[in-house]
């Protein structure tokens, strides 16, 4: 037995489908589904089911939905078609010797059937009969025309009755006129009178024995979603970090070792010519350590030169002219910028014969700041540094242009700014097409001679540098408004699962 699979759970009997197809084969201009149902003596809904199942397998048939007026038996009409009209049943229930009227009235059809049979003159009533009124047949036999008409209608042969007859039956509430939806069925482009079973899936067995060649397969529902793969995910901020790393590497920048969160004030501030009274060195802005509280082992000659340039000047500078204290420089802190590492690297560079370098780093920095939706006590700083002979402001802007182009940002402009360890200092702005305004995207500058010369770098070497945060571009890239959803344990893992790959330039 072959089973015709349907889209839904119901299945149409193959016999019905094939019978339907044979009917369709015989007619060129199509056939009505109700007519087919009548001729096959099946309920119309069975044929509708067969039509739908054929539609699901492709272009076997074409079926056009039509609506038409149609006579249908009421419940009472169907009862009559089955058991006969009330008057006929009254006639049938009366024996030759007659029946007391009271007995007849006990029957369900008695009352209505009595008056109708009386007017048809099929029976008579003997009111004066001894023992009460009694009913007798007046004819030998009757013809139950009502039932016959109803049976004709039930079989769909409405055309054999006159309108007047149908209206009379309607008046007796045995018949009602209803609108019926039917299909006009014609042959499809791939019409065939035979149907085969549809397989749901290709199996190993079918591949082995080659049976797939003969089989038809149930179509897939391409509207549904697939099953999510069982996989791990990288964190979006780290995905962006990977891209920034890649950009620096493409530009020939060497990665600095920034795996030292704890730094001395000396390397974080003093070596960068940031005076000891600078607000950034306040308890309010920086995390100081209680244990280990102080750093030791500074390069002594260098430390003396740093002290001198702060307190007295030198290297062409007037200095800040204040009482520089080693105690301040020794204080350990959580580094406030990765520039502390840049300072260590440039100092190291200055201790050997100078060769040009390009450095970068992306790592955590810490600020004892008031927290809000976009600020945390720790964030990632991206930093780039180039040291070479005679680098200019034009070079810095040129490098920044190349760097930001790789991020998909081409419209840049620069604003004069202040930073204790760079001169000139420039804030980098890019034009945001969405916001229709210039937004700050980073900071940059040329390191001051007061920072570089005490290290021992040649006088004609300049060092250009820039920095930006990793979190900000990531939040923009992934449309995140609250930084806590991105960084830290309150991360929304669903967001991590769902975040797309990171292509910064698209």
């Amino acid at each position: 037995e072959t089973i015709f699979p349907l889209n839904g759970s119901s299945m149409a009997d193959t016999g019905v489908v094939e019978a339907l197809l044979r009917r369709v084969e015989k007619v060129d201009d199509g056939v009505d589904s109700l007519e087919v149902a009548t001729s096959l003596e099946l309920d119309h809904q069975v044929i509708v089911g067969a039509v739908k199942s054929l539609q699901a397998v492709g272009d076997v048939i074409s079926a056009e939905l039509r609506s038409s007026k149609h006579w249908e038996l009421t419940d009472e009409g169907r009862e009559i078609a089955e058991h006969g009209s009330h008057e006929a049943r009254v006639f049938g229930s009366i024996p030759v010797e007659g029946l007391p009227q009271s007995e007849l009235m006990k029957l369900s059809f008695g009352k209505i059937g009595f008056s109708k049979a009386m007017s048809n003159k099929w029976i008579r009533l003997d009111k004066a009969h001894e023992g009460g009124p009694r009913i007798f047949r007046t004819v030998e036999s009757i013809e139950d025309q009502v039932r016959e008409k109803l049976l004709l209608l039930q079989k769909g042969n409405a055309s054999q009755l006159e309108e007047k007859e149908k209206n009379e039956l309607k008046k007796r509430k045995l018949l009602s006129e209803v609108t019926v939806k039917t299909y006009w069925i014609m042959k499809g482009n791939s019409f065939s009178t035979t149907v085969t079973k549809q397989e749901t899936e290709l199996t190993a067995e079918m591949i082995t024995n080659g049976s797939w060649k003969e089989k038809k397969f149930k179509p897939y529902n391409f509207e549904a979603m697939g099953v999510a793969p069982d996989c791990g995910h990288l964190h979006p901020l780290m995905k962006v970090r990977t891209q920034f790393r890649q950009i620096f590497l493409e530009m020939g920048f060497t990665e600095m070792p920034t795996n030292n969160f704890i730094e001395s004030s000396f390397w974080n501030f003093d070596s960068l010519f940031q005076p000891q009274q600078h607000p950034a060195r306040d308890q309010h802005d920086t995390f100081f350590l209680s244990d280990p509280a102080l750093a030791h082992d500074f390069p002594q000659d260098y430390l003396e030169r740093v002290k001198k340039v702060h307190s007295e000047g030198g290297f062409g500078s007037q200095g800040y002219k204040y009482d520089w204290k080693i105690e301040e420089a020794k204080k350990n802190i959580l580094r406030t910028h990765t520039t502390a590492v840049s300072a260590r690297m440039l100092y190291k560079l200055a201790q050997q014969k100078f060769t040009p370098v390009k450095y970068f780093s992306i790592d955590r920095v810490f600020r004892n700041e008031t927290l809000d939706a976009t600020h945390l006590a720790e964030f990632h700083q991206i930093e780039g540094v180039v040291a070479d002979y005679g680098l200019t402001l034009g070079d810095l802007m040129g490098v920044l242009h190349q760097f930001f182009t790789k991020l998909g940002i081409t419209k840049l402009r620069f604003k004069p700014a202040y930073n204790p360890y760079t001169e000139p200092s420039m804030e980098v702005f890019s034009y945001h097409e969405g916001l229709k305004k210039w937004v700050e995207v980073g900071n940059s500058g040329i390191f001051r001679p007061e920072m570089l010369l005490p290290m021992g770098l040649p006088e004609d070497v300049s060092v250009i540098a820039w920095g930006l945060s990793l979190e900000r571009p990531t939040m923009i890239k992934y449309g995140i408004n609250n930084i806590r959803e991105l960084v830290g344990h309150k991360v929304n893992l669903q967001m991590v699962y769902d975040s797309p790959i990171c292509r910064l330039d698209s």
Binding site: G232, R245, S264, Q277, L294, V357, P416, H489
Partner: protein, 585 residues
């Protein structure tokens, strides 16, 4: 970055033209300022205290302008206008002159040796025949406040006192006395107080209470008297009411007391250069003498003009030396080409204390030229890039751990002591943690010594997610290490957790095996890796193993102790792995 609020219409009047907001914003950008906000007094009060308080407040438009932190000469309307007018070539930068009094001796401020214990320096000057209006007066007061908040480091380094000279008579004495011995009527009070009483009076003053700590626990407090014993001020807290400035004041005595004399000189120069504009002889300042305890006498204000000869090393777009000199002159740095090579001679006025090196001069040339007019070039620096080996390994491992079905988390490097000790069933003293001395909340007490608490907190915050949760992190922890100059070092760790209805030790163990496979370490005692039972209070007894690589311990894995699970507000079994990454370099 300090923000200066100026009335827009007053500013435009002084600039001699009006600007649209956009035009003014553009001018600021070019000059290195930032038009931060356009508002009004009414709007500010309404925002800070509610609409009801704001009714009746002025709705005159205010520009809030961000000024670079080292440009004290731009902290008031007078300075901003002067700077911008010179920049736009509409005004020649003034030359400030120190003058002797027309008749008689200069005002004297005598410093006694007692001040050495609390606030040893003082400088002074006189603004003669000044004309105040309400606006000028407001700006005069506001500039003192801005200087106090910035260069004066909230009055700790320098405090400014300004007095109506006609109400007092010199010579003035700057001394220091025990708080009980100082008694005067302070500004805007109706009766006299001793310094001791004042300190307790101001404990609740929203403004002054921030400065009390500067002298509070000193044995003596600084105080300045006139020759009749009238108190001018008790720096850095409050002035006397007697000598207060009014709109009618014609002659102003300015004193600055300090712990940093360089800054005191700068602050005094700022006050007098900004407001000498309103003297009958504009831009002249009457000198005052300061006599130090050792008898040495100094004359103030300094108003030093330093003349620098510098060579234009890399002019923007190779502009001529003459052009550079013109550019600098627009930045209030009068300059001329000397004709000796590329040398220029630059006059640095007392208003530009930020210029301390030739590079500061060259920056101004670039600003005047316009940063955005400079041609962008590409340096020819040839270099070959290297990755930091530890980061390279980390990057490679992360990819493959995600491929192994684990999701990457990213947690804070700072946390509470509880997170790394108590909650894991350990003592803080055993952790080798670095401690922070000034955390604002418990979240920042220590640098983490383990990645595990962060991952457990990540699970706790994501309990609604379908199980199992498989997380990992590769990041740095911080450990005390005496061999390092700062006494601590970072250590790169790999941590992973598996959280489900069953502990899944085999899953975490499988991840270890996979990790070792990725690191090309075979499973073998001796040369390879193996695990062996260990005791650790973080883990369920009998469910913890130590990981050995070439005989050295690199970490642990196991099923977490139910107490640990509870302390992190979790409800399901959990297995975890944490190990060092650096041994695999």
């Amino acid at each position: 970055m300090p923000t200066v609020g100026v009335k827009r219409d007053l500013l435009f009047k002084a600039l001699g033209r009006t600007y649209t907001d956009e035009e003014f914003d553009e001018l600021c950008f070019e000059f290195g300022l930032e038009l931060d906000e356009i508002t009004s007094e009414k709007e500010i009060i309404s925002r800070e205290q509610g609409d009801s308080k704001a009714s009746g407040a002025s709705d005159i438009i205010l520009y809030k302008i961000d000024v670079p932190a080292n440009r004290y000469d731009l902290l008031c309307l007078e300075g901003l206008v002067r700077g911008l007018q010179v920049f736009k070539n509409k005004l020649e930068a003034p030359r400030y002159r120190r003058v002797s009094p027309v008749n008689g001796e200069p005002q004297k401020l005598i410093i006694t040796k007692e001040t050495a214990a609390v606030r040893p320096f003082a400088v002074a000057a006189v603004l003669r025949n000044i004309t105040f209006t309400q606006e000028r007066y407001d700006s005069f007061i506001e500039l003192q406040e801005k200087l106090h908040q910035n260069i004066c480091r909230k009055r700790s380094l320098v405090a400014i006192g300004t007095h109506d000279l006609d109400t007092i008579s010199g010579p003035f004495t700057y001394t220091a006395k025990a708080p009980g011995d100082i008694c005067f009527r302070p500004l805007n009070q109706t009766k006299e107080y001793t310094a001791t009483q004042l300190m307790s009076l101001y404990k609740t003053d929203s403004h002054l209470r921030h400065y009390l700590h500067i002298i509070e626990d000193k044995p003596v407090y600084p105080v300045i008297y006139d020759s009749n014993g009238i108190v001018l001020s008790m720096p850095p807290i409050i002035n006397g009411d007697h000598s207060k400035i009014t709109l009618k004041t014609k002659n102003v005595f300015i004193e600055c007391t300090a712990t940093d004399v360089t800054k005191a000189k700068i602050v005094l120069d700022m006050m007098v250069t900004m407001f000498s504009e309103y003297c009958s002889q504009p831009f002249t300042v009457e000198e005052a003498e300061v006599v130090y305890p050792d008898g040495k006498t100094c004359v103030y204000p300094t108003l030093a003009v330093s003349v620098q000869h510098c060579f234009v090393l890399c002019p923007p777009d190779s502009e001529s030396t003459e052009k550079i000199a013109q550019l600098l002159t627009r930045m209030c740095l009068r300059s001329r080409a000397t004709g000796v090579g590329d040398e220029i001679e630059v006059e640095i006025p007392p208003t530009r204390s930020d210029v301390i090196h030739a590079c500061d001069i060259m920056e101004d040339a670039a600003v005047a030229y316009g940063f955005n007019n400079i041609t962008r070039t590409t340096p020819r620096t040839y270099t070959v890039a290297h990755q930091f080996p530890l980061n390279k390994l980390t990057e490679l491992l992360r990819q493959d751990l995600a491929a192994a079905g684990f999701t990457e988390a990213l947690n804070f490097a700072l946390c509470s002591q509880e997170d790394i000790a108590d909650k894991l069933g350990k003592k803080i003293s055993e952790t080798k943690a670095a401690h922070i001395s000034n955390p604002k909340t418990a979240e920042f007490q220590v640098a983490r010594t383990t990645l595990l608490p962060g991952l457990l907190k990540t699970i706790a915050a994501n309990r609604k997610m379908p199980l199992p949760l498989k997380l990992f992190e590769i990041s740095d922890v911080v450990l005390q290490d005496e061999t390092k100059d700062v006494g601590a070092r970072n250590s790169r760790r790999f941590c992973a957790v598996y959280y489900n209805k069953s502990p899944g030790f085999e899953v975490i163990h499988g991840l270890l095996d996979r990790t070792m496979q990725l690191l090309d370490v075979k499973s073998a005692r001796g040369e390879g890796y193996h695990i062996q039972a260990a005791d650790d209070p973080t883990f369920f007894p009998g469910r913890c193993a130590e990981i050995f690589v070439q005989g050295k311990s690199v970490g642990r894995l196991g099923v977490l102790h139910p107490d640990v699970i509870n302390r992190f507000e979790l409800t399901m079994p959990c297995s975890a792995l944490e190990m060092d990454v650096e041994p695999f370099l």
